[in-house]
């Protein structure tokens, strides 16, 4: 027996590829509106590009470290369990704690380091395309391409056995799904935690050449086991739930714009801007973590007292006409890095260079391998993933 899904908060509502009209209306009128947050609390939704950038850039007045943003009604965990589960959770920290944690990982995500990974990512992409081709048309692009490629990449990088992937893929997907009842999501959180603690213990006993091994070898004295488990959990979840949704939703966006798909397929110079435009236009992260005001503030003329939640609507900000002309039009030729789909400020996506590289390799490789790729479902029957903290597709049946 499944219960009716909760009413979707405004900041998560979409109309296929687009944020709902009501969100644009907030942006074009007062710019900031009192709404109900994901967990049923009042929050201020910020909808304009410049205001969102200002909030995200200011970790002093807009804190990530407040428990308010993370406390969920019906959460049965003890305070001690919650405290341990939050250790190493960079998205729940402010500088200088955040700076300390992030600096353990920045060497692993440099532009140069990503270039060294490139041949392996190309190989992983080609292997998955080979398997799709061998199995033949039709296929579901999500489990055969969009999900396993980033999954294998992050597993190899981190040092997570790929054989375990199905278990944690299912777990993380359900953990972040608002329509799943809270007790089940808490149970999944606990299972995920236990799994990660086991991996950390293994890495401590025998540190490998992967990222967990590196953290143990180079920072083992400075970083607690809880922090290690928290950092690894964050990377594993972030590595699964982001690029995979961009690959699925992005492919559908290209299929709906055949002239632009042809550009990405045929012109290598078109790929880099196309990935940026896909990021901007789709903005799959609705808001990221809610900030909590540490003092009375004013946003777009609205007074907001200390101790209140602030949500930054990334899809709305990325479609602000004061940021970009004709914002609702998808145009791969104009893509540039000024969008804030990866966030902004000190919490700007750590894995952005990896995500960009995966997308720059995967989209053109898919389109070149299957030049006749087409959706097997009418557009209105394609299942968009509405109730999830990160937007995407449940599945994308395709033919070629």
């Amino acid at each position: 027996m499944t219960q009716a899904p909760p009413v979707l908060p405004l900041h998560m509502r979409r109309d296929h590829f687009d944020p709902v009209a009501e969100l644009a209306e907030v942006r074009e009128s007062e710019g900031v509106r009192r709404v109900t947050s994901t967990f049923g609390r009042p929050a201020w939704l910020v909808a304009r590009h410049d205001d969102v950038r200002d909030v995200l850039a200011d970790a002093t007045r807009f804190s990530n470290a407040s428990q308010l943003a993370f406390s969920m009604p019906g959460d049965t965990r003890t305070d001690e369990e919650k405290r341990r589960a939050m250790a190493g959770q960079m998205l729940a920290t402010d500088p200088p704690d955040h700076t300390r944690l992030r600096r353990f990982l920045t060497p692993e995500f440099t532009v140069r380091r990503m270039k060294r990974l490139e041949p392996r990512i190309v190989e992983i992409v080609e292997q998955h395309l080979d398997a799709m081709e061998a199995a033949g048309s039709p296929a579901d692009l999500v489990p055969s391409f969009a999900l396993p490629i980033p999954s294998l990449v992050i597993c190899e990088l981190l040092g997570v056995p790929y054989a375990d992937r199905e278990e944690f893929q299912q777990r993380t997907a359900r953990q972040l799904d608002l329509s799943i009842p809270m007790p089940e999501r808490i149970a999944l959180q606990r299972e995920g935690r236990a799994y990660m603690e086991k991996l950390v213990a293994g890495a401590k006993a025998d540190p490998g050449e992967d990222m967990l091994g590196m953290l143990v070898r180079e920072h083992g004295e400075e970083i607690s086991d809880d922090e290690l488990a928290g950092l690894a959990s964050l990377l594993l979840i972030a590595g699964h739930e982001t690029t995979s949704n961009m690959l699925g939703l992005g492919t559908l966006a290209l299929l709906r714009h055949p002239d632009q798909l042809a550009l990405v397929r045929d012109d290598p110079d078109a790929v880099v801007p196309a990935v940026e435009e896909l990021m901007r236009w789709l903005s799959i992260v609705h808001t990221g973590v809610a900030r909590t005001t540490t003092q009375d503030v004013e946003i777009a003329g609205q007074q907001i007292p200390e101790g209140e939640l602030v949500l930054c609507a990334l899809p709305s900000a990325n479609r602000d006409p004061s940021f970009i002309d004709d914002p609702d039009t998808f145009d791969v030729k104009r893509g540039s890095m000024g969008h804030i789909a990866f966030g902004h400020g000190v919490h700007h996506c750590l894995g952005a260079p990896l995500a960009r590289m995966e997308m720059r390799i995967a989209f053109p490789a898919l389109l070149r391998r299957f030049p006749d790729l087409a959706s097997a479902l009418p557009f209105d029957e394609i299942p968009f993933r509405a109730y999830h903290f990160i937007y995407g597709l449940h599945s994308l049946p395709v033919t070629w």
Partner: protein, 63 residues
């Protein structure tokens, strides 16, 4: 113009290197290194863009 980087606040996002790898680099820890402090012409434009993109506000243009 002169480009100044605050290496203490840099988070190593690498957007500057992605914008111009002539003007910017990252050290082994991922932290920004300014290769050309007074970029000229097209490099100056790219450097300004990198300053505006920098997520942690670690980059500034002085003068």
């Amino acid at each position: 113009m002169k480009i100044v980087a605050d290496r203490d606040v840099c988070i190593g996002a690498g957007l500057c290197v992605g914008t111009s790898d002539t003007v910017f680099d990252q050290d082994d820890d991922g932290i920004v290194v300014v290769l050309v402090e007074d970029p000229q012409g097209a490099d100056a434009d790219l450097a300004r863009e990198a300053v505006s993109l920098c997520p942690s506000s670690a980059l500034k243009v002085v003068d």
